[in-house]
């Protein structure tokens, strides 16, 4: 790789990718924990069908997911129209769109892992905590979640990796606008499409190295053991 190649490399997509992936992971984590808990602990008739519906972002091509988000939140949708008229804001072509798209695509990973983890917990530990005067929320935060954490963490790391790699849905919603909404994955895609193989390789190496570093660090510092 020549030094001109390094010149061609631009830190923006990297920073944007990390920002988007981090936010999307947080959103997926919160929603995934809540829904995973719900489906594990408060099943209702048909809840396994509803749970499977949340898996669809994995089943359908990302473009379809992106298109669905466009239809649901774009300027032509009632929601998007209202927001646009009142706040002069649209999620299309904004990096927020990439966050939403990545979160939707990453959600099933957290949800399913959290669900399995919550279902496997020894309920008598929760009972013990409740006899020790803890509120439901306190029991959840201090006992349930820590005990389920290995599974939830696994799902979260998967979600982060997926969010880093997401580009089909984001491309649709946020566009691939250099210095605005172009993430690393989009930049890689662009580089391959433009025949800039060296740049593509460089970007792949950077993305891989940084993702591995983050995953290893999270594994080490978030595993609580």
């Amino acid at each position: 790789m020549t030094s001109s190649l390094f010149d061609a490399f631009d830190a923006f997509p990297l920073i944007l990718s990390l920002k988007v992936a981090a936010l999307a992971t947080v959103l997926a984590l919160v929603a995934g924990i809540a829904l995973g808990w719900l489906f594990a602990r408060k099943p209702f008739p048909g809840s396994s069908v509803v749970e499977s519906v949340f898996m669809l972002p994995l089943v359908l091509p990302p473009t379809v997911i992106g298109y669905a988000i466009l239809v649901a939140a774009g300027r032509r949708s009632p929601l998007g129209k209202w927001v646009y008229e009142h706040f002069d804001y649209t999620i299309i072509f904004s990096w927020h769109g990439a966050v939403v798209a990545s979160a939707v695509v990453a959600l099933p990973l957290v949800l399913k892992s959290a669900n399995a983890a919550f279902a496997g917990i020894d309920r008598s530990l929760e009972a013990a905590a409740s006899t020790l005067g803890q509120s439901r929320w306190s029991v959840f935060v201090r006992v349930t979640l820590p005990l389920a954490w290995p599974g939830v963490l696994a799902g979260t790391l998967l979600a982060f990796a997926r969010a880093m790699g997401e580009f089909g849905a984001s491309l649709m919603v946020a566009g691939s606008i250099p210095n605005r909404t172009q993430t690393l994955s989009m930049a890689i895609y662009d580089a391959t499409q433009a025949g800039q193989d060296d740049l593509a390789l460089l970007l792949v190496v950077i993305t891989s190295a940084i993702s591995i570093a983050i995953l290893v660090a999270c594994n080490r510092y978030l595993s609580l053991r």
């Binding site: 020894d122 008598s124 530990l125 009972a127 013990a128 905590a129 409740s130 006899t131 020790l132 005067g133 803890q134 509120s135 929320w137 306190s138 935060v141 201090r142 006992v143 820590p146 005990l147 609580l224």
Partner: protein
């Protein structure tokens, strides 16, 4: 002080177990005694609010914790009882110290006040857990785990104690010491205690009254204080069982205290 009258059924496939117990006592320390699977643990769970009876009531020191007829059913955390679980139910992700202090803190306030800290430390000390205060329960011996569970149940100054075989994993010497600790706690705090045990000596040493279980029912209660006065019964029963032979006593001594002299 304790007034329990509950009916409940647990099911597991085709098998079902019906619990229908009723007992009440003014005595501060009551024991539940009876065969394996007779419903003793289920009774404590119902009192703690972990199982919901179909009918009946649970009252402690005049407070109604549960009353099916009046629609009262306090959540476990509102019942303020200290519960030692038969299988300890120690939090595997917390250290011994954190397990013991658990009930004093909440998700919001996780630091102990100096007074609470002192209380935790004194329990750790009294139950001989100082050396392993920072270990996780998983690496403790059976008896060490049981003592952690006992300390954890006592730490909140509960309004009643429910103890499911608190000394089963302890050897007689420690058992004696902890019996004295427990008797002291119950006496000082003036709280009622309900203890399941398989050890008659536990009953004899600690309890004022014992309720004998059989197949989900209380079939008999034994007043252990009154017994003392009924002197004629003493002699009447005296020869029904052989007094402990000196041989056995000697062996008992050998096991507990040291080599036999000659």
């Amino acid at each position: 002080m304790i007034d329990v009258d509950i009916e409940l059924t647990v099911r597991d496939g085709a098998r079902r177990f019906d619990l229908g117990v009723r007992f009440a006592t003014e005595a501060p320390f009551a024991a539940l005694y009876g065969p394996s699977g007779s419903g003793k643990s289920l009774t404590l769970q119902a009192i703690a609010g972990l199982l919901k009876p179909r009918a009946g009531h649970v009252r402690l020191d005049g407070r109604t914790l549960f009353d099916a007829a009046r629609g009262i059913d306090l959540a476990p955390r509102e019942r303020g009882v200290g519960y030692l679980f038969q299988h300890y139910a120690l939090f595997p992700h917390l250290s011994v110290r954190q397990n013991i202090g658990f009930g004093l803190t909440t998700w919001r306030r996780r630091r102990l006040t100096p007074a609470q800290q002192a209380r935790v430390d004194s329990l750790i000390e009294r139950f001989g857990l100082s050396a392993m205060a920072d270990s996780r329960p998983g690496v403790l011996s059976g008896g060490q785990q049981q003592r952690v569970a006992l300390a954890r149940a006592l730490v909140r100054e509960p309004s009643a104690l429910l103890l499911d075989e608190p000394f089963a994993a302890l050897n007689p010497m420690l058992r004696g010491a902890l019996r004295r600790e427990l008797a002291e706690v119950v006496r000082q705090a003036r709280i009622p205690a309900l203890m399941i045990t398989h050890d008659i000596d536990d009953v004899l040493e600690l309890a004022d009254v014992a309720f004998v279980y059989q197949d989900g029912q209380v079939v008999r209660d034994v007043d252990l204080r009154k017994g003392e006065s009924r002197d004629h019964a003493r002699r009447a029963l005296g020869d029904e069982r052989p007094v402990e032979s000196p041989m056995r006593q000697k062996l008992r001594h050998l096991l507990n205290d040291g080599p036999a002299a000659g």
